[in-house]
């Protein structure tokens, strides 16, 4: 029997396309009958979407300038 605890453990596998065979079948069946697990999956999707929106600190000019200085000095490919 496929339980809520099992379904929760497979939610990222599903997103990653790593669920197949009977496990995939029972996982999908479980979600059709369990509103709590469906809610959990929606919330997981939202958490991932919000993570992707976290603003990233720009790379400092100091870092870029140091790397660029080395890049300018490299011998050009013929």
């Amino acid at each position: 029997m496929f339980l809520c605890r099992d379904a929760c453990e497979h939610m990222t596998d599903e997103r990653e396309g790593a669920l197949s065979g009977w496990v995939g079948f029972w996982y999908r069946f479980h979600l059709t009958i369990c509103p709590h697990c469906r809610a959990c999956r929606r919330q997981l999707d939202e958490a991932v979407a919000l993570s992707k929106e976290i603003p990233r600190e720009p790379v400092s000019d100091k870092v870029i300038d140091a790397a660029l200085a080395a890049f300018r000095e490299r011998p050009k490919t013929e």
Partner: protein, 207 residues
């Protein structure tokens, strides 16, 4: 695991070999944070991590003509970085392989929310659909960001690389030298923790 570079990599590498500074600036801008995240997992301090990433860029400049496209450019650069970071970790006596960091990070998420029969005893708190107002969305995002900083090292590294920096699972596995399954477990544990933070935010119990 192979993740051969695609046409985008070929164009970028060609521009780099031609000395295109804009291409190099673009590369550093897009990869530096991810590399720093990897380095932090191997070395003893943020400043050591910065140094290792800086050395990596110098190595990339010196070796770009030798890139053969057998992996993605990101994997190639990430592997240069991880090798250097491991060497630095050994030198600084912090020779902890990434795989050992993963062992303590794989406990099930919130086992107390399930009863002995494996069904929910404390189901996820419901809330309306994703917040539409920009202010609420920003607050929810900040709740996620706070939780991200508290994740165990291995989970945080995988979540940051996958969800914030956009690395593929193959790139993460190759650079961190972990299995696909291990990577998915870490990603899942980390994401579930972030989901929990979002749940607390929506239920008003966020710290």
């Amino acid at each position: 695991m192979t993740d051969a570079g695609g046409p985008d990599d070929a164009v970028l590498v060609s521009r780099l070999r031609d000395g295109d500074e804009a291409a190099f600036r673009e590369l550093v801008g897009s990869m530096h944070r991810g590399l720093l995240r990897v380095a932090v997992a191997f070395v003893e301090s943020p400043s050591a991590a910065e140094e290792v990433v800086q050395e990596t860029w110098l190595a990339v400049v010196a070796q770009i003509d030798g890139f053969e496209g057998r992996s993605s450019l990101r994997t190639w650069i990430g592997t240069i970085l991880s090798n250097r970071a491991k060497t630095r970790g050994v030198r600084d006596k912090r020779s902890v392989p990434f795989s050992s960091l993963t062992r303590e990070d794989v406990d099930p998420v919130e086992p107390e929310r399930f009863n002995a029969g494996g069904t929910w005893s404390l189901p996820p708190a419901r809330w309306d659909d994703a917040p539409e107002s920009l202010v609420l969305r920003k607050e929810a995002r900040e709740a996620i960001e706070r939780e991200l900083k508290t994740l165990p090292e291995a989970q945080r590294t995988v979540v940051v690389l996958r969800d914030l920096e956009g690395w593929s699972s193959e790139e993460v596995c190759n650079v961190l030298e972990i299995s696909e399954t291990n990577q998915r477990v870490l990603l899942h544990r980390g994401r579930q923790r972030l989901r929990g933070a979002l749940e607390r935010y929506h239920s008003g119990t966020d710290r």
